[in-house]
Protein backbone atom coordinates (compact mmCIF):
# COMPACT_ATOMS: atom_id res chain seq x y z
CA UNK A 1 0.00 0.00 0.00
CA UNK A 2 1.39 3.38 -0.89
CA UNK A 3 0.23 6.73 0.35
CA UNK A 4 1.19 9.52 -1.96
CA UNK A 5 2.99 12.58 -0.62
CA UNK A 6 0.85 15.36 0.77
CA UNK A 7 3.49 17.95 0.11
CA UNK A 8 5.58 17.70 -3.01
CA UNK A 9 8.21 20.24 -2.03
CA UNK A 10 9.13 18.56 1.27
CA UNK A 11 9.44 15.29 -0.60
CA UNK A 12 11.58 16.88 -3.28
CA UNK A 13 13.92 18.35 -0.67
CA UNK A 14 14.30 15.05 1.12
CA UNK A 15 14.70 13.29 -2.17
CA UNK A 16 17.65 15.46 -3.09
CA UNK A 17 19.23 14.53 0.24
CA UNK A 18 18.46 10.89 -0.49
CA UNK A 19 20.19 11.17 -3.83
CA UNK A 20 23.32 12.14 -2.01
CA UNK A 21 23.36 8.90 -0.06
CA UNK A 22 22.71 6.88 -3.17
CA UNK A 23 19.01 6.17 -2.65
CA UNK A 24 17.62 6.86 -6.06
CA UNK A 25 14.04 7.74 -6.72
CA UNK A 26 13.74 4.31 -8.27
CA UNK A 27 14.28 2.58 -4.92
CA UNK A 28 11.34 4.52 -3.45
CA UNK A 29 9.16 3.86 -6.52
CA UNK A 30 9.97 0.16 -6.62
CA UNK A 31 6.91 -1.92 -5.75
CA UNK A 32 9.11 -4.71 -4.35
CA UNK A 33 10.95 -2.45 -1.93
CA UNK A 34 9.36 -1.46 1.35
CA UNK A 35 9.96 2.08 2.48
CA UNK A 36 8.99 4.84 4.82
CA UNK A 37 9.73 8.50 4.23
CA UNK A 38 9.19 10.83 7.18
CA UNK A 39 9.56 14.61 7.28
CA UNK A 40 9.58 15.85 10.86
CA UNK A 41 6.43 14.15 12.20
CA UNK A 42 4.70 13.54 8.88
CA UNK A 43 4.87 10.39 6.83
CA UNK A 44 5.33 11.50 3.24
CA UNK A 45 5.25 8.02 1.83
CA UNK A 46 4.82 4.49 3.19
CA UNK A 47 5.04 1.27 1.28
CA UNK A 48 4.79 -2.35 2.44
CA UNK A 49 5.84 -5.53 0.73
CA UNK A 50 4.64 -9.08 1.51
CA UNK A 51 6.25 -10.06 4.80
CA UNK A 52 7.00 -6.50 5.90
CA UNK A 53 4.41 -4.27 7.48
CA UNK A 54 5.18 -0.64 8.18
CA UNK A 55 2.73 1.39 10.29
CA UNK A 56 2.94 5.02 11.27
CA UNK A 57 1.01 6.92 13.94
CA UNK A 58 1.14 10.57 14.88
CA UNK A 59 1.76 11.07 18.56
CA UNK A 60 1.19 14.13 20.63
CA UNK A 61 4.82 15.05 20.27
CA UNK A 62 6.34 12.99 17.55
CA UNK A 63 5.77 10.03 15.36
CA UNK A 64 5.58 6.32 16.12
CA UNK A 65 6.70 3.77 13.60
CA UNK A 66 6.05 0.03 13.79
CA UNK A 67 7.90 -2.34 11.52
CA UNK A 68 6.89 -5.97 11.64
CA UNK A 69 8.57 -8.70 9.66
CA UNK A 70 6.61 -11.96 9.44
CA UNK A 71 8.16 -15.11 10.87
CA UNK A 72 10.20 -16.95 8.27
CA UNK A 73 10.05 -14.09 5.76
CA UNK A 74 13.23 -13.69 3.73
CA UNK A 75 13.07 -10.13 2.50
CA UNK A 76 15.16 -9.73 -0.63
CA UNK A 77 15.27 -5.95 -0.96
CA UNK A 78 16.43 -3.74 1.88
CA UNK A 79 13.73 -1.81 3.72
CA UNK A 80 14.39 1.94 3.41
CA UNK A 81 13.58 4.02 6.46
CA UNK A 82 14.16 7.70 5.79
CA UNK A 83 13.86 10.33 8.48
CA UNK A 84 14.50 13.92 7.65
CA UNK A 85 13.74 17.53 8.32
CA UNK A 86 13.02 19.58 5.26
CA UNK A 87 12.90 22.77 7.30
CA UNK A 88 16.11 24.30 8.62
CA UNK A 89 14.64 24.42 12.14
CA UNK A 90 12.65 21.88 14.04
CA UNK A 91 12.52 18.83 16.19
CA UNK A 92 11.94 15.23 15.36
CA UNK A 93 10.95 12.61 17.88
CA UNK A 94 10.65 9.09 16.61
CA UNK A 95 9.48 6.00 18.43
CA UNK A 96 10.49 2.97 16.48
CA UNK A 97 9.21 -0.50 17.31
CA UNK A 98 10.69 -3.33 15.32
CA UNK A 99 9.74 -6.96 15.53
CA UNK A 100 11.61 -9.47 13.39
CA UNK A 101 9.69 -12.77 13.51
CA UNK A 102 11.30 -16.14 14.09
CA UNK A 103 13.63 -17.23 11.33
CA UNK A 104 13.04 -14.09 9.28
CA UNK A 105 15.86 -12.25 7.57
CA UNK A 106 15.88 -8.60 6.59
CA UNK A 107 18.11 -5.62 6.02
CA UNK A 108 17.17 -2.07 7.00
CA UNK A 109 18.73 0.97 5.42
CA UNK A 110 17.97 3.89 7.67
CA UNK A 111 18.76 7.32 6.29
CA UNK A 112 18.72 10.27 8.59
CA UNK A 113 18.79 13.34 6.42
CA UNK A 114 19.55 16.65 8.00
CA UNK A 115 21.54 18.23 5.21
CA UNK A 116 19.51 21.47 5.28
CA UNK A 117 19.12 21.55 9.02
CA UNK A 118 20.57 24.53 10.83
CA UNK A 119 19.13 24.18 14.28
CA UNK A 120 17.23 21.08 15.27
CA UNK A 121 17.06 17.94 17.30
CA UNK A 122 16.50 14.35 16.28
CA UNK A 123 15.52 11.98 19.03
CA UNK A 124 15.04 8.31 18.33
CA UNK A 125 13.77 5.77 20.81
CA UNK A 126 13.91 2.30 19.35
CA UNK A 127 12.79 -1.03 20.70
CA UNK A 128 13.95 -3.89 18.55
CA UNK A 129 13.25 -7.59 18.90
CA UNK A 130 15.11 -10.04 16.74
CA UNK A 131 13.40 -13.33 17.50
CA UNK A 132 14.79 -16.85 17.48
CA UNK A 133 17.06 -17.63 14.51
CA UNK A 134 16.14 -14.38 12.77
CA UNK A 135 18.62 -11.97 11.25
CA UNK A 136 18.49 -8.21 11.15
CA UNK A 137 21.05 -5.98 9.58
CA UNK A 138 20.63 -2.23 10.15
CA UNK A 139 22.72 0.34 8.38
CA UNK A 140 21.96 3.77 9.72
CA UNK A 141 23.59 6.59 7.82
CA UNK A 142 23.37 10.24 8.81
CA UNK A 143 23.80 13.09 6.39
CA UNK A 144 24.18 16.40 8.12
CA UNK A 145 24.77 19.88 6.80
CA UNK A 146 27.66 22.19 7.55
CA UNK A 147 25.86 24.13 10.30
CA UNK A 148 26.47 21.80 13.21
CA UNK A 149 23.46 23.06 15.12
CA UNK A 150 21.88 19.68 15.48
CA UNK A 151 21.45 17.43 18.46
CA UNK A 152 21.11 13.74 17.70
CA UNK A 153 20.16 11.35 20.47
CA UNK A 154 19.42 7.82 19.33
CA UNK A 155 18.58 5.25 21.97
CA UNK A 156 17.95 1.61 21.24
CA UNK A 157 17.00 -1.34 23.40
CA UNK A 158 17.57 -4.46 21.41
CA UNK A 159 16.91 -8.07 22.21
CA UNK A 160 18.58 -10.74 20.15
CA UNK A 161 16.87 -14.10 20.56
CA UNK A 162 18.35 -17.58 20.63
CA UNK A 163 20.42 -18.23 17.50
CA UNK A 164 19.45 -14.82 16.12
CA UNK A 165 21.87 -12.32 14.61
CA UNK A 166 22.02 -8.56 14.66
CA UNK A 167 24.40 -6.46 12.61
CA UNK A 168 24.22 -2.76 13.22
CA UNK A 169 26.29 -0.11 11.51
CA UNK A 170 25.83 3.53 12.45
CA UNK A 171 27.68 6.16 10.46
CA UNK A 172 27.84 9.93 10.57
CA UNK A 173 30.47 10.95 8.07
CA UNK A 174 28.95 13.71 5.94
CA UNK A 175 28.61 17.18 7.34
CA UNK A 176 28.95 18.39 10.90
CA UNK A 177 27.86 16.10 13.71
CA UNK A 178 26.83 18.86 16.08
CA UNK A 179 26.01 16.94 19.22
CA UNK A 180 25.60 13.20 19.16
CA UNK A 181 24.77 11.10 22.15
CA UNK A 182 23.98 7.50 21.32
CA UNK A 183 22.89 4.85 23.74
CA UNK A 184 22.53 1.27 22.56
CA UNK A 185 21.85 -1.68 24.79
CA UNK A 186 21.68 -5.17 23.43
CA UNK A 187 20.73 -8.37 25.24
CA UNK A 188 21.88 -11.51 23.49
CA UNK A 189 20.37 -14.95 24.18
CA UNK A 190 22.06 -18.33 23.71
CA UNK A 191 24.00 -18.76 20.47
CA UNK A 192 22.90 -15.29 19.41
CA UNK A 193 25.21 -12.74 17.83
CA UNK A 194 25.32 -8.95 18.04
CA UNK A 195 27.77 -6.80 16.13
CA UNK A 196 27.65 -3.05 16.65
CA UNK A 197 29.78 -0.81 14.47
CA UNK A 198 29.91 2.95 14.84
CA UNK A 199 31.75 5.21 12.43
CA UNK A 200 31.81 8.94 13.12
CA UNK A 201 33.76 11.91 11.94
CA UNK A 202 33.85 14.91 14.25
CA UNK A 203 34.91 18.41 13.23
CA UNK A 204 34.95 21.95 14.60
CA UNK A 205 33.15 21.99 17.97
CA UNK A 206 31.36 18.67 17.54
CA UNK A 207 30.65 16.73 20.72
CA UNK A 208 30.26 12.99 20.45
CA UNK A 209 29.30 10.56 23.13
CA UNK A 210 28.85 6.92 22.20
CA UNK A 211 27.46 4.41 24.65
CA UNK A 212 27.29 0.79 23.59
CA UNK A 213 26.40 -1.95 25.97
CA UNK A 214 26.15 -5.61 25.08
CA UNK A 215 24.99 -8.22 27.58
CA UNK A 216 25.81 -11.74 26.54
CA UNK A 217 23.24 -13.54 28.61
CA UNK A 218 22.90 -16.92 26.90
CA UNK A 219 25.30 -19.81 26.51
CA UNK A 220 27.56 -19.29 23.48
CA UNK A 221 26.31 -15.75 22.86
CA UNK A 222 28.74 -13.55 20.92
CA UNK A 223 29.20 -9.82 20.74
CA UNK A 224 31.41 -7.29 19.00
CA UNK A 225 31.54 -3.54 19.46
CA UNK A 226 33.65 -1.78 16.88
CA UNK A 227 34.07 1.97 17.12
CA UNK A 228 35.91 4.20 14.66
CA UNK A 229 36.11 7.91 15.30
CA UNK A 230 38.12 10.59 13.53
CA UNK A 231 38.36 13.96 15.24
CA UNK A 232 39.74 17.22 13.92
CA UNK A 233 39.74 20.86 15.01
CA UNK A 234 38.32 21.08 18.55
CA UNK A 235 35.97 18.13 18.34
CA UNK A 236 35.65 15.85 21.34
CA UNK A 237 34.51 12.27 21.70
CA UNK A 238 33.94 9.87 24.54
CA UNK A 239 33.43 6.24 23.64
CA UNK A 240 31.96 4.11 26.41
CA UNK A 241 31.67 0.46 25.53
CA UNK A 242 30.60 -2.24 27.90
CA UNK A 243 30.37 -5.95 27.30
CA UNK A 244 29.12 -8.39 29.88
CA UNK A 245 29.83 -12.10 29.57
CA UNK A 246 27.10 -13.57 31.73
CA UNK A 247 26.96 -17.15 30.49
CA UNK A 248 29.24 -20.05 29.65
CA UNK A 249 31.09 -19.82 26.34
CA UNK A 250 29.95 -16.26 25.79
CA UNK A 251 32.55 -14.39 23.71
CA UNK A 252 32.76 -10.65 23.48
CA UNK A 253 35.21 -8.21 21.99
CA UNK A 254 35.42 -4.43 21.85
CA UNK A 255 37.65 -2.61 19.44
CA UNK A 256 37.96 1.17 19.50
CA UNK A 257 40.15 3.34 17.29
CA UNK A 258 40.12 7.09 17.47
CA UNK A 259 42.32 9.25 15.28
CA UNK A 260 42.83 12.66 16.84
CA UNK A 261 44.21 15.73 15.07
CA UNK A 262 44.62 19.42 15.85
CA UNK A 263 43.16 20.30 19.28
CA UNK A 264 40.66 17.48 19.25
CA UNK A 265 40.27 15.17 22.23
CA UNK A 266 39.38 11.51 22.31
CA UNK A 267 38.57 9.22 25.18
CA UNK A 268 37.72 5.55 25.36
CA UNK A 269 36.22 3.87 28.39
CA UNK A 270 35.89 0.15 27.90
CA UNK A 271 34.19 -1.85 30.60
CA UNK A 272 34.54 -5.61 30.65
CA UNK A 273 32.38 -7.57 33.03
CA UNK A 274 32.44 -11.34 33.24
CA UNK A 275 29.94 -13.17 35.40
CA UNK A 276 30.70 -16.70 34.30
CA UNK A 277 34.14 -18.32 34.50
CA UNK A 278 33.66 -19.84 31.06
CA UNK A 279 32.89 -16.54 29.38
CA UNK A 280 35.56 -14.36 27.80
CA UNK A 281 35.54 -10.69 26.90
CA UNK A 282 38.49 -8.80 25.43
CA UNK A 283 39.09 -5.24 24.33
CA UNK A 284 41.57 -3.15 22.42
CA UNK A 285 41.74 0.60 22.07
CA UNK A 286 44.03 2.91 20.17
CA UNK A 287 43.74 6.66 20.37
CA UNK A 288 46.22 8.97 18.80
CA UNK A 289 47.45 10.70 15.77
CA UNK A 290 47.80 8.99 12.41
CA UNK A 291 50.49 6.32 12.47
CA UNK A 292 53.76 7.69 11.10
CA UNK A 293 54.77 4.55 9.18
CA UNK A 294 51.39 4.53 7.44
CA UNK A 295 51.83 8.15 6.41
CA UNK A 296 55.40 7.63 5.27
CA UNK A 297 54.39 4.61 3.22
CA UNK A 298 51.67 6.54 1.43
CA UNK A 299 53.92 9.54 0.86
CA UNK A 300 56.64 7.27 -0.53
CA UNK A 301 53.97 6.18 -3.00
CA UNK A 302 53.37 9.71 -4.18
CA UNK A 303 50.70 11.15 -1.90
CA UNK A 304 51.05 14.56 -0.29
CA UNK A 305 50.95 14.64 3.55
CA UNK A 306 47.31 15.82 3.47
CA UNK A 307 46.26 13.15 1.00
CA UNK A 308 48.00 10.51 3.08
CA UNK A 309 46.21 11.56 6.28
CA UNK A 310 42.89 11.66 4.46
CA UNK A 311 43.36 8.15 3.07
CA UNK A 312 44.23 6.67 6.45
CA UNK A 313 41.21 8.35 8.05
CA UNK A 314 38.73 7.54 5.30
CA UNK A 315 39.99 3.94 5.19
CA UNK A 316 39.44 3.58 8.92
CA UNK A 317 35.93 4.99 8.57
CA UNK A 318 34.88 2.69 5.75
CA UNK A 319 32.40 -0.04 6.58
CA UNK A 320 33.87 -3.40 7.47
CA UNK A 321 34.70 -5.48 4.43
CA UNK A 322 33.02 -8.59 5.72
CA UNK A 323 29.43 -8.96 4.64
CA UNK A 324 27.26 -10.66 7.19
CA UNK A 325 27.12 -14.23 5.91
Amino acid sequence: MTRSPPDGSALARLQSALDRVGVTDAALQDADTAHLLVDAHRALSVHDVPGVEVQVRRRLLGIAVDVRVQPGAQIANPVHLCFGLSNPFGAQRVRLDVDIGEGASVRFLAHCLFARTRHASHRMRARIQVRRDAQLSIEEGHVHGAAGGIVVTPRARISVGPGARLFSDFSLLQGRVGRLRSDYRVDVAEQGLAELAVRVRGRAEDRIELNDHIRLNGIGARGLVKTRVALTDRAQAVVRSTTEGNAADARGHMDCTEIVKDQAQGESVPVVRVGDPKAQVTHEAAIGTVDQTQLETLMAHGLTPDQAIELVISGMLRPAATEPA
Binding site: T293, E296, M299, A300
Partner: protein, 243 residues
Protein backbone atom coordinates in the same frame (compact mmCIF):
# COMPACT_ATOMS: atom_id res chain seq x y z
CA UNK B 1 80.03 2.82 -13.98
CA UNK B 2 77.21 5.15 -14.94
CA UNK B 3 76.88 8.52 -13.17
CA UNK B 4 75.75 8.06 -9.58
CA UNK B 5 72.04 8.58 -9.16
CA UNK B 6 72.34 8.46 -5.41
CA UNK B 7 75.46 9.77 -3.73
CA UNK B 8 75.92 9.58 0.01
CA UNK B 9 78.94 11.20 1.63
CA UNK B 10 80.11 11.08 5.22
CA UNK B 11 76.65 10.32 6.62
CA UNK B 12 76.27 10.16 10.37
CA UNK B 13 73.10 9.46 12.31
CA UNK B 14 72.79 9.53 16.07
CA UNK B 15 69.79 8.47 18.04
CA UNK B 16 69.32 8.30 21.79
CA UNK B 17 73.03 8.77 22.42
CA UNK B 18 74.06 6.03 19.99
CA UNK B 19 75.71 6.40 16.64
CA UNK B 20 73.59 4.30 14.31
CA UNK B 21 75.37 5.34 11.13
CA UNK B 22 78.90 6.56 10.92
CA UNK B 23 80.78 8.02 7.99
CA UNK B 24 78.67 6.26 5.38
CA UNK B 25 79.68 6.91 1.81
CA UNK B 26 77.91 5.08 -0.94
CA UNK B 27 76.99 5.58 -4.58
CA UNK B 28 74.25 3.92 -6.59
CA UNK B 29 74.34 4.37 -10.34
CA UNK B 30 71.25 4.85 -12.49
CA UNK B 31 69.67 1.52 -13.35
CA UNK B 32 71.96 -0.53 -11.14
CA UNK B 33 71.24 -2.88 -8.28
CA UNK B 34 73.34 -2.13 -5.26
CA UNK B 35 73.15 -4.79 -2.58
CA UNK B 36 73.53 -3.71 1.02
CA UNK B 37 74.54 -6.63 3.24
CA UNK B 38 75.16 -6.95 6.93
CA UNK B 39 74.04 -8.65 10.12
CA UNK B 40 71.05 -7.79 12.26
CA UNK B 41 71.20 -4.35 13.78
CA UNK B 42 74.16 -3.08 11.75
CA UNK B 43 72.19 -0.11 10.42
CA UNK B 44 70.82 -1.13 7.00
CA UNK B 45 67.24 -0.05 7.67
CA UNK B 46 68.40 3.15 9.34
CA UNK B 47 70.37 4.02 6.23
CA UNK B 48 67.39 3.37 3.94
CA UNK B 49 65.10 5.49 6.15
CA UNK B 50 67.64 8.25 6.17
CA UNK B 51 67.74 8.28 2.36
CA UNK B 52 63.95 8.16 2.11
CA UNK B 53 63.60 10.98 4.65
CA UNK B 54 61.65 9.18 7.37
CA UNK B 55 60.78 11.01 10.56
CA UNK B 56 63.66 10.86 13.06
CA UNK B 57 66.28 9.76 10.53
CA UNK B 58 67.65 13.11 9.44
CA UNK B 59 71.43 12.79 9.32
CA UNK B 60 73.53 14.67 11.84
CA UNK B 61 76.40 15.00 9.44
CA UNK B 62 77.17 14.38 5.79
CA UNK B 63 75.06 14.74 2.70
CA UNK B 64 72.75 12.82 0.43
CA UNK B 65 72.49 13.80 -3.23
CA UNK B 66 70.04 12.58 -5.80
CA UNK B 67 70.97 13.34 -9.40
CA UNK B 68 73.37 15.89 -8.03
CA UNK B 69 70.76 17.70 -5.87
CA UNK B 70 71.03 17.78 -2.06
CA UNK B 71 67.97 16.00 -0.73
CA UNK B 72 68.86 15.45 2.93
CA UNK B 73 66.75 18.40 4.04
CA UNK B 74 63.78 17.69 1.76
CA UNK B 75 60.65 16.20 3.31
CA UNK B 76 59.82 12.63 2.42
CA UNK B 77 57.03 13.36 -0.05
CA UNK B 78 59.27 15.69 -2.04
CA UNK B 79 61.93 13.01 -2.28
CA UNK B 80 59.19 10.67 -3.51
CA UNK B 81 58.26 13.24 -6.13
CA UNK B 82 61.86 13.15 -7.39
CA UNK B 83 61.42 9.44 -8.01
CA UNK B 84 62.57 7.76 -4.80
CA UNK B 85 60.43 5.15 -3.12
CA UNK B 86 60.84 2.53 -0.45
CA UNK B 87 59.47 -0.86 0.43
CA UNK B 88 59.60 -1.22 4.20
CA UNK B 89 61.06 -4.22 5.99
CA UNK B 90 57.79 -4.45 7.89
CA UNK B 91 55.13 -2.94 5.67
CA UNK B 92 52.42 -0.87 7.31
CA UNK B 93 48.88 -2.17 7.36
CA UNK B 94 45.86 -0.08 6.48
CA UNK B 95 42.34 -0.61 7.65
CA UNK B 96 39.74 -0.20 4.92
CA UNK B 97 42.22 0.25 2.06
CA UNK B 98 41.86 -2.44 -0.59
CA UNK B 99 44.87 -3.76 -2.49
CA UNK B 100 43.40 -2.35 -5.72
CA UNK B 101 43.42 1.20 -4.33
CA UNK B 102 46.91 0.91 -2.91
CA UNK B 103 48.29 -0.23 -6.27
CA UNK B 104 46.81 2.75 -8.09
CA UNK B 105 47.68 5.51 -5.62
CA UNK B 106 48.40 8.66 -7.53
CA UNK B 107 48.13 6.95 -10.94
CA UNK B 108 44.63 5.59 -11.46
CA UNK B 109 45.42 4.52 -15.01
CA UNK B 110 47.72 1.71 -13.84
CA UNK B 111 46.57 -1.88 -14.23
CA UNK B 112 46.78 -3.34 -10.71
CA UNK B 113 45.99 -6.88 -11.88
CA UNK B 114 49.06 -7.02 -14.04
CA UNK B 115 51.26 -5.81 -11.15
CA UNK B 116 49.89 -8.47 -8.85
CA UNK B 117 50.55 -11.24 -11.33
CA UNK B 118 54.16 -10.12 -11.55
CA UNK B 119 54.67 -10.68 -7.83
CA UNK B 120 52.94 -14.04 -7.93
CA UNK B 121 49.54 -13.04 -6.49
CA UNK B 122 46.33 -14.02 -8.27
CA UNK B 123 44.47 -10.74 -8.97
CA UNK B 124 40.98 -12.20 -8.53
CA UNK B 125 41.97 -13.25 -5.07
CA UNK B 126 43.77 -10.16 -3.89
CA UNK B 127 42.47 -7.02 -5.61
CA UNK B 128 39.49 -6.72 -3.28
CA UNK B 129 41.33 -7.78 -0.14
CA UNK B 130 42.04 -5.21 2.52
CA UNK B 131 45.59 -4.21 3.29
CA UNK B 132 44.94 -4.83 6.98
CA UNK B 133 45.91 -7.53 9.43
CA UNK B 134 44.01 -10.15 7.45
CA UNK B 135 46.88 -10.28 4.91
CA UNK B 136 49.81 -12.47 5.87
CA UNK B 137 53.28 -10.99 6.22
CA UNK B 138 54.51 -12.49 2.96
CA UNK B 139 51.39 -11.39 1.09
CA UNK B 140 51.82 -7.89 2.42
CA UNK B 141 55.48 -7.84 1.29
CA UNK B 142 54.46 -8.88 -2.20
CA UNK B 143 51.78 -6.22 -2.46
CA UNK B 144 54.36 -3.63 -1.39
CA UNK B 145 56.67 -4.84 -4.14
CA UNK B 146 53.82 -4.71 -6.66
CA UNK B 147 53.20 -1.10 -5.61
CA UNK B 148 56.85 -0.25 -6.21
CA UNK B 149 56.64 -1.75 -9.71
CA UNK B 150 53.52 0.30 -10.37
CA UNK B 151 55.37 3.49 -9.46
CA UNK B 152 58.27 2.83 -11.86
CA UNK B 153 60.54 4.92 -9.61
CA UNK B 154 64.07 6.06 -10.46
CA UNK B 155 65.35 4.65 -7.18
CA UNK B 156 63.75 1.92 -5.09
CA UNK B 157 64.95 1.25 -1.57
CA UNK B 158 63.95 -2.36 -0.99
CA UNK B 159 64.37 -3.38 2.64
CA UNK B 160 64.52 -7.16 2.82
CA UNK B 161 62.13 -7.79 -0.08
CA UNK B 162 62.57 -11.53 0.38
CA UNK B 163 61.89 -11.60 4.13
CA UNK B 164 58.93 -13.80 4.92
CA UNK B 165 58.73 -15.03 1.32
CA UNK B 166 58.59 -18.82 1.09
CA UNK B 167 61.70 -20.46 -0.35
CA UNK B 168 60.01 -21.67 -3.52
CA UNK B 169 59.00 -18.13 -4.39
CA UNK B 170 62.38 -16.57 -3.82
CA UNK B 171 63.17 -16.85 -7.54
CA UNK B 172 60.06 -14.82 -8.24
CA UNK B 173 61.26 -11.97 -6.06
CA UNK B 174 64.71 -12.13 -7.63
CA UNK B 175 63.08 -11.94 -11.06
CA UNK B 176 60.96 -8.95 -10.05
CA UNK B 177 63.98 -7.02 -8.78
CA UNK B 178 65.82 -7.80 -12.03
CA UNK B 179 62.84 -6.63 -14.08
CA UNK B 180 62.70 -3.42 -12.07
CA UNK B 181 66.31 -2.75 -12.91
CA UNK B 182 65.79 -3.68 -16.56
CA UNK B 183 62.94 -1.17 -16.70
CA UNK B 184 65.37 1.54 -15.58
CA UNK B 185 64.93 1.63 -11.81
CA UNK B 186 68.02 1.74 -9.62
CA UNK B 187 67.68 -0.49 -6.57
CA UNK B 188 69.27 -0.30 -3.16
CA UNK B 189 68.70 -3.91 -2.22
CA UNK B 190 68.90 -4.68 1.47
CA UNK B 191 69.10 -8.36 2.19
CA UNK B 192 70.61 -11.05 4.33
CA UNK B 193 70.26 -13.53 1.54
CA UNK B 194 73.17 -14.28 -0.73
CA UNK B 195 70.82 -15.26 -3.55
CA UNK B 196 69.68 -11.66 -3.64
CA UNK B 197 73.23 -10.36 -3.46
CA UNK B 198 74.13 -12.34 -6.55
CA UNK B 199 71.85 -10.35 -8.85
CA UNK B 200 73.45 -7.09 -7.80
CA UNK B 201 75.81 -5.05 -9.94
CA UNK B 202 77.61 -3.77 -6.88
CA UNK B 203 77.48 -4.50 -3.19
CA UNK B 204 78.41 -2.99 0.15
CA UNK B 205 78.85 -4.63 3.48
CA UNK B 206 77.86 -2.88 6.70
CA UNK B 207 79.08 -3.54 10.21
CA UNK B 208 78.42 -1.51 13.33
CA UNK B 209 76.88 1.42 11.46
CA UNK B 210 79.69 1.66 8.90
CA UNK B 211 80.28 0.45 5.42
CA UNK B 212 83.29 -1.81 5.71
CA UNK B 213 83.65 -2.93 2.14
CA UNK B 214 82.19 -2.05 -1.25
CA UNK B 215 82.86 -3.69 -4.56
CA UNK B 216 81.72 -6.47 -6.81
CA UNK B 217 79.06 -8.71 -5.30
CA UNK B 218 81.43 -11.68 -5.47
CA UNK B 219 84.11 -9.85 -3.54
CA UNK B 220 81.70 -8.56 -0.89
CA UNK B 221 79.93 -11.90 -0.58
CA UNK B 222 83.23 -13.65 0.02
CA UNK B 223 83.97 -11.16 2.77
CA UNK B 224 80.49 -11.66 4.21
CA UNK B 225 80.99 -15.44 4.27
CA UNK B 226 84.28 -15.13 6.08
CA UNK B 227 82.53 -13.10 8.73
CA UNK B 228 85.50 -10.87 9.05
CA UNK B 229 85.24 -7.17 9.53
CA UNK B 230 88.17 -5.13 8.29
CA UNK B 231 86.99 -2.17 10.30
CA UNK B 232 86.73 -3.68 13.76
CA UNK B 233 89.30 -6.34 12.86
CA UNK B 234 87.21 -9.11 14.22
CA UNK B 235 83.98 -10.97 13.98
CA UNK B 236 81.23 -8.98 12.29
CA UNK B 237 79.58 -7.26 15.17
CA UNK B 238 75.98 -6.27 15.60
CA UNK B 239 76.77 -3.55 18.06
CA UNK B 240 76.86 0.05 17.06
CA UNK B 241 79.30 2.18 18.97
CA UNK B 242 78.35 4.91 21.42
CA UNK B 243 78.38 8.36 19.93
Amino acid sequence: MTDPLLQIRGLRLERAGRRLLDDISLAVGAGEIHALLGGNGCGKTSLAKSVMGCDGYAPDRGEIRFVGQRIDTLPLHERARLGITMAWQEPARFEGVPVREFLTLGHPEADPAERLRRVGLAPWRYLGRMLDKTLSGGERKRVELAAVIALAPRLALLDEPAAGIDLRSLDEIVRVVRELRDAGTAVLLISHREEMGRIADRASQMCGGRIIVSGSPQHVAAQYREHHCVYCDGELTHDTQPA
